[in-house]
Amino acid sequence: MSDNNSQALQQEARRHLIIFGAVALGTILIVLSSFAPLATGVKIAAVLAVAIAQASLVAGFLMHLITEKRMVISSLVLTAIFFVALIFLPFLSEADQTHHFLLR
């Protein structure tokens, strides 16, 4: 193994430790927010924002998505579109938008 390769691996290991620290910090923030006197809506938004940031760090750096090939990224983009639609379905149903549009 060349010195360059060894150095690159050491650098990558260091980067992963920084990610570990950042994700752990995110967890601490989420726990602290549970004790904070925030309005429910603000609390949900804050906690989900931190969780999304944590997830981005894990997916981007630990799963190497930031350097992944186009083939993988494009299949995940398609998944993300369907996932977002799936998550917003309950809101659509709750607001009864379908019914509203049909009546128009």
Partner: protein, 273 residues
């Protein structure tokens, strides 16, 4: 069937180590990513159900789960995610000893996660709701901490007791302290109208909690099995094809990170919000 159609036994599976020209990645990696895409939809459907149940529910229980225990489990899983990536880096650096150390640590952390989860589950199945015939409702623990009792089970047991010793829960912050707190209540069985543990049948919140966390725990167990294989018998591949073994560990790591990703959302949704 013509003889020519039977593949030879020593046929080599292509693109296990090197990248396939059209996809740019080795086959196991693209396969794993497609599998993870299907997993995203599986958990997505359950999270979507959670939202539907929650916004449609007139009240949602709070404080049923211990935040410090959930946070501890989060740190355990984050730690295991780092050790699994370190085990892959060790293989990239041709350090097999370090791989064994990091992969072993990941397995131990995963087992710790499951142990803590089991403790939490056990606590729910030994925590009871009691409704008396006079309308009084109590939550707490039965002496001896019996597992998942119900009124029917209690009455049908061979040595059915005439009364149960019940320790009511401490009131939550801001709630008035009833006289019964810190006392052991003797509840006559004939006075009990309903007795049930805090299992998935107790309310909608616990039903979706057990579904989501149970499915996640199954994924953790699946990961442990695969990692144990790589740590044990599976590592023979290292002598035959180092690159292929390294790739196997990489895709296992990708799966494990996904398991962590799911927990990153499960923890705040179930314990905090």
């Amino acid at each position: 069937m013509p003889a020519a159609a039977i593949p030879p036994l020593d046929m080599e599976i292509p693109y296990t180590a090197e990248a396939r020209p059209d996809t740019g990645v080795y086959n196991a990696k693209i396969g794993l990513w497609l599998f993870l895409a299907s997993e995203v939809m599986l958990f997505g459907a359950l999270f979507s159900s959670y939202i539907l149940l929650r916004v449609g529910s007139p009240e949602w229980p709070q404080g049923l789960l211990s935040v410090p225990i959930g946070a501890l489990n989060t740190f355990v899983l984050i730690g295991s995610s780092i050790t699994v990536v370190m085990s892959w880096l060790a293989l990239k650096g041709n350090d097999f000893g370090k791989f064994k150390l990091y992969m072993g640590s990941t397995i131990l952390l995963a087992l710790l996660f499951i142990s803590i989860k089991s403790f939490e589950y056990h606590d729910k199945f030994t925590h009871y709701f009691v409704k008396l015939k006079d309308g009084t409702e109590l939550t707490g623990h039965i002496e001896g901490r019996p597992f998942n009792w119900s009124l029917a089970k209690l009455k049908a047991s061979a040595n059915a007791p005439r009364e149960i010793a019940f320790h009511p829960d401490a009131p939550k912050q801001g709630e008035p302290v009833p006289d019964s707190t810190h006392q052991t209540l003797r509840l006559p069985v004939e006075q009990i109208a309903k007795l049930e543990s805090f299992g998935p049948w107790r309310n909608t919140y616990l039903a979706i909690y057990f579904t989501l966390s149970g499915l996640h725990a199954l994924h953790v167990v699946g990961g442990i099995v695969v990692m144990l294989y790589h740590w044990g018998a599976g590592h023979r591949l290292w002598r035959k094809s180092r690159e292929q073994f390294t790739n196997r560990v990489e895709v296992t790591g990708l799966y494990w990170h996904f398991v962590e990703l799911v927990w990153i959302f499960l923890f705040p949704v179930m314990y905090i919000l």
